[in-house]
């Protein structure tokens, strides 16, 4: 037995008992981008028992400035983030059970994953997924920690079912537009700050010290030197469709799920088939090879470059169309090359 957790055990609010509890917990992280990388590394170093990390994307050069788990090799080989993350995390702490899932976190998947976990950490880059996550958290009574950042700004809130307002109470409808990493960029200190807020709250939940939770909506701007923390209990709505008295969990219904989504921070559109599919990548490679353009295949995806666009096809049937933000143009390309 080494003493790798000794400093954390010396910290009184955790102690040996808290460490024992942490080592028996299972956390789900949705997204393995900047926040997901930071949160996953922190939890794995802290000795979490089991971690499930989900991401739909692969590593690119523009990720390396802030996504701390990834290296140049990952970007060169377009390794899916979930896989690259798992490899690095196991190198950091081999005793943690890590499950890497390359997929889009939508209703069916989330309802399946949530049953096995004690806590969900939000590291997604969009509100559609967060609203689904919010409904799933309420339905299965599993807490989740909202975190987001753009530019030098960040925000976080901890949602405890039956106790705090939920995300629907706070925003009512899915926030659309606004700044993204695409338009406003992002600096790593903003990421790390949000990660710190999320992981501090996560550790409190995992050791069972709920009285120490922040209980406020926190936001900051590291460039403008601003900080704000607001007590939002008053915003909890009796008639909230997600956490109120007569719940309908609106974001779990099929009609509210989009099949196409413009990705944050990227000139890209994702298209997912309406029914679960498994793509035969090898066969697809042969099809692409006969066309003009260049093809790259690894065990997880195919990347087909036909200027000025690039189509990346994943095994689970999803396709990323790069080089456009226009959904109809993306769909046209999808149908042209993939039927």
């Amino acid at each position: 037995m080494n003493n790798r957790y000794s400093r954390q055990e010396l910290f009184l609010p955790i102690g040996k008992d808290g460490q024992e509890r942490i080592s028996n917990k299972h956390v789900l992280i949705i997204g393995a981008g900047a926040l997901g990388s930071g949160c996953a590394e922190a939890l794995v170093r802290a000795g979490i028992g089991q971690l499930t990390i989900v991401d739909r994307d692969y590593v690119e050069w523009s990720n390396l400035q802030r996504q701390q788990l990834y290296s140049e090799d990952d970007a060169k080989n377009r390794i899916p983030k979930a896989i690259a993350a798992k490899n690095r995390l196991l190198a950091i702490n081999s005793s943690v059970v890590i499950e890497a899932i390359i997929a889009d976190a939508s209703v069916v998947e989330l309802e399946d994953w949530v049953k096995k976990v004690d806590l969900i950490i939000d590291a997604t880059d969009n509100f559609e997924t967060r609203m689904i996550l919010n409904d799933v958290s309420q339905k299965y009574s599993v807490p989740w920690i909202y975190g987001a950042c753009v530019g030098s700004y960040g925000i976080s809130y901890t949602i405890i079912p039956e106790k705090t307002p939920c995300l629907s109470c706070l925003v009512e409808t899915v926030p659309l537009g606004g700044l993204t990493c695409d338009t406003a960029g992002i600096i790593s200190p903003a990421v790390n700050m949000v990660v710190s807020y999320q992981i501090s709250e996560a550790l409190k939940i995992l050791v069972g010290d709920l009285d120490s939770l922040r209980n406020k909506l926190v936001s900051f701007d590291l460039w403008k030197n601003q900080y704000s923390a607001i007590q939002v209990d008053k915003l909890k709505k009796e008639d909230c469709p997600s956490c109120g008295n007569e719940r309908t969990y609106p974001y779990l219904s099929f009609e509210n799920q989009t099949k196409t989504v413009v990705l944050c921070g990227r000139d890209s559109v994702q298209i997912r088939p309406s029914l679960p599919t498994i793509r035969d990548l090898e066969a697809l490679e042969k099809v692409f090879a006969k066309q003009e353009g260049t093809v790259l295949r690894n065990p997880f995806l195919i990347s087909y470059n036909v200027e000025p666009h690039r189509l990346v096809v994943f095994k689970d049937g999803r396709v990323l169309v790069h080089g456009t933000k226009d959904i109809s143009e993306a769909k046209a390309l999808y149908h042209r090359y993939l039927g």
């Binding site: 939000d122 967060r130 950042c149 925000i155 926030p175 704000s228």
Partner: protein
């Protein structure tokens, strides 16, 4: 008037009367925000008709999606 906005003293222009004017001034009126005045949180409906006064303490948090 002078107000304490997210911990910083700010001189607001003359034309700003209520909370929704401030949101417009900072170009966040179309975003999802939570506003607190002197420790009191406002519902969305109250943004329109809540007048500001000199030395008010205002906290504004806006939601973002990146991560």
């Amino acid at each position: 008037m002078k107000v304490l906005l997210n911990g910083e003293w700010i001189q607001l222009p003359e034309h700003i009367i209520n909370v929704s004017d401030v949101l417009k001034h900072y170009d966040i009126h179309q975003r999802h925000v939570v506003v607190e005045i002197n420790g009191e949180i406002l519902t969305k409906l109250e943004h329109q008709n809540t007048r500001l006064a000199d030395k008010d303490r205002i906290e504004i948090v806006h939601f973002v999606g990146g991560g």
